[in-house]
């Protein structure tokens, strides 16, 4: 029995092609990922009665009803278009799980489609000459690039306040490539050394290029349904054991009370309070890595090690790598598989728990934790093989 009022399971996952360049039609990408997830679960369009999607609202994905038409789904008992201030792509799955648990619908398709054009926040933009709203306190100082400067300042502050070193951040980047070498879908599969990491171009010193994830064109889809129904479908169900959100007081990337961890700590506290398992039971962790700081935050917030202990715990990277005691980001994550914006961490966790990951399979993985975003947008899920 999970922490939800009705047990929910993931019954299918799917990907489109994931590409580093090119001009893609987001309908084609979305349809490919959704069709793959439905085929994986062994269901047709008539079995789907809910769709939730997450996007930036910049033409990066079709709307939920747009996807309904792409897939020929007769009617939707529940749908939602989530915009870019939630826990990234995982937000769609969190929403779906709650709707299924509430009994509003039975089988929900969720997806995140993203293009390089919309996902490339480091691009040079020409902003309006007049800075209004929240921008009036940021744009006149040359604050741009989304949360890039915020993440750089968190990196600097963390090492000053909690100790460790910038090499800790490099361990996350190196780890991503070690796993990506074992994942044919990953776009950056060449190995990386700590020296390579430090030689990377500084984007906003101390943030280096290799602290940032890699923009791609692609889509990922996940099919969720009641655990009861999932047991009649094609795959071994992966049950949603717990889910939680967190924002933290003051809820802001720059001005929130907890500058280093944002909402990750309250999110993790709620997650484990609800779960039937605990941090010591985690076999594999798929933790957002839009920036390396985020992954380190989640490792500590989730209690996989203590706050400020990552430096010693990570054991020069061995602990989180292939064959390590706690494999982290086994697909290569967004740093190396590509920035599918959150939902692919859930899909990878599901495939690990189903034992389908081939060369990168974590032996006998039974419990996974998935976390997305950071700051005022934190969200996480615990999954258990049925």
């Amino acid at each position: 029995m999970s922490g939800l009022t009705r047990d929910v399971a993931v019954a299918g996952v799917g990907y489109s092609t994931v590409a580093r360049s090119g001009d893609f039609d987001v309908r084609t990408l979305t349809r490919a990922a959704c069709t793959a997830a439905m085929a994986d679960a062994g269901v047709g369009p008539a079995a789907v009665d809910g769709i939730v999607e997450y996007q930036f609202g910049q033409g990066d994905a079709p709307s939920a009803v747009g996807a309904q038409r792409l897939l020929g789904i007769p009617d939707l008992a529940m749908f939602n278009d989530l915009m870019g201030t939630g826990p990234s792509g995982l937000a769609s799955a969190l929403d779906a799980a709650m709707a299924i648990a509430a009994g509003v619908c039975e089988t929900v398709l969720v997806y995140r489609c993203i293009t390089r054009a919309s996902g490339h926040t480091g691009a040079v933009r020409t902003g309006p000459p007049e800075a209004r709203g929240a921008l009036q306190f940021a744009a006149p100082y040359g604050y741009g690039g989304g949360i890039i400067p915020a993440m750089s300042m968190k990196k600097q502050r963390r090492v000053a306040e909690l100790g460790g070193s910038y090499a800790d951040y490099g361990r996350i980047a190196v780890n991503a490539r070690r796993w990506a070498a074992l994942n044919e879908r990953a776009v950056l599969r060449d190995p990386l050394t700590l020296d390579d990491y430090f030689a990377a171009r500084p984007v906003a010193d101390p943030l280096l290029l290799l602290d940032c994830d890699y923009p791609v064109n692609g889509a990922c889809a996940v099919l969720l349904t009641s655990a009861e129904r999932a047991r009649d479908l094609r795959q071994v169900p992966v049950v949603v054991d717990a889910l939680a959100y967190g924002t933290g007081a003051g809820a802001d990337w720059l001005y929130g009370d907890d500058f280093l961890f944002g909402g990750t700590i309250p999110c993790a506290r709620r997650l484990w309070a609800q779960a039937s398992v605990g941090p010591a039971d985690v076999d594999v962790a798929e933790l957002y890595d839009g920036f390396t700081h985020i992954t380190i935050s989640w490792i500590e917030a989730l209690g996989l090690c203590g706050i400020g202990e990552f430096h010693d715990w990570v054991d020069d990277g061995d602990r989180i790598g292939p064959g390590g005691a706690l494999p982290v980001n086994t697909s290569g994550g967004q740093l190396a598989e590509g920035r599918l914006h959150g939902l692919a961490f859930l899909a990878e966790a599901v495939q690990q728990l189903r034992g389908e990951c081939g060369a990168r399979q974590v032996p006998d993985a039974r419990v996974a934790v998935v976390a997305n975003a950071h700051g005022p947008q934190s969200g996480a899920m615990v999954l258990v093989r049925d």
Partner: protein, 151 residues
């Protein structure tokens, strides 16, 4: 050169920018819970009380966190890189962080956490590119900027 963005005061921020134009740095203070916040909001983000009021602070503080922007994200700052961006904690409102550039520091590396700084005001042209104009006589908005005053 593309013009740098100028702040446009609104109903909530007007007192902040008016203060800056007089050479006074303010934080928004909540009488109900006694805590300050920045940027100013219509209600206290910590307790929800109405009517936070601007409170003048000394303008001295320390660097809470800093970075050096090396890749321009806004075309208007393409000629400004590398430049400092930082969050400053005022000495007399340490729970507050104020986003600023840092003047008087070598952009070869970020300024260390804890470094003392003091506010000054420049016409709203950004990143220490002071023009020969007096505060209040530029585009009508003075921009608080912090200068490194010690190691």
């Amino acid at each position: 050169m593309t013009a740098r963005p100028r702040p446009v005061p609104d109903a909530v921020s007007a007192a902040y920018w008016a203060g800056a134009d007089r050479g006074a740095l303010t934080v928004a203070h909540c009488d109900a819970c006694g805590r300050a916040h920045h940027p100013p909001e219509p209600a206290c983000p910590r307790c929800g009380a109405d009517g936070p009021r601007p409170r003048v602070v000394s303008g001295r503080g320390t660097v809470f966190a800093a970075c050096v922007v090396r890749q321009a994200f806004d075309a208007a700052f393409a000629d400004a890189v590398p430049y400092h961006l930082a969050l400053v904690a005022p000495d007399d409102a340490p729970e507050v962080r104020i986003l600023t550039n840092l003047l008087g520091a070598d952009p070869a590396e970020p300024v260390a956490v804890g470094t003392p700084v003091a506010v000054e005001f420049e016409p709203a042209t950004g990143v220490g590119a002071r023009v020969d104009a007096r505060v209040g006589e530029g585009d009508g908005v003075a921009l608080p900027q912090f200068r490194v005053v010690g190691p």
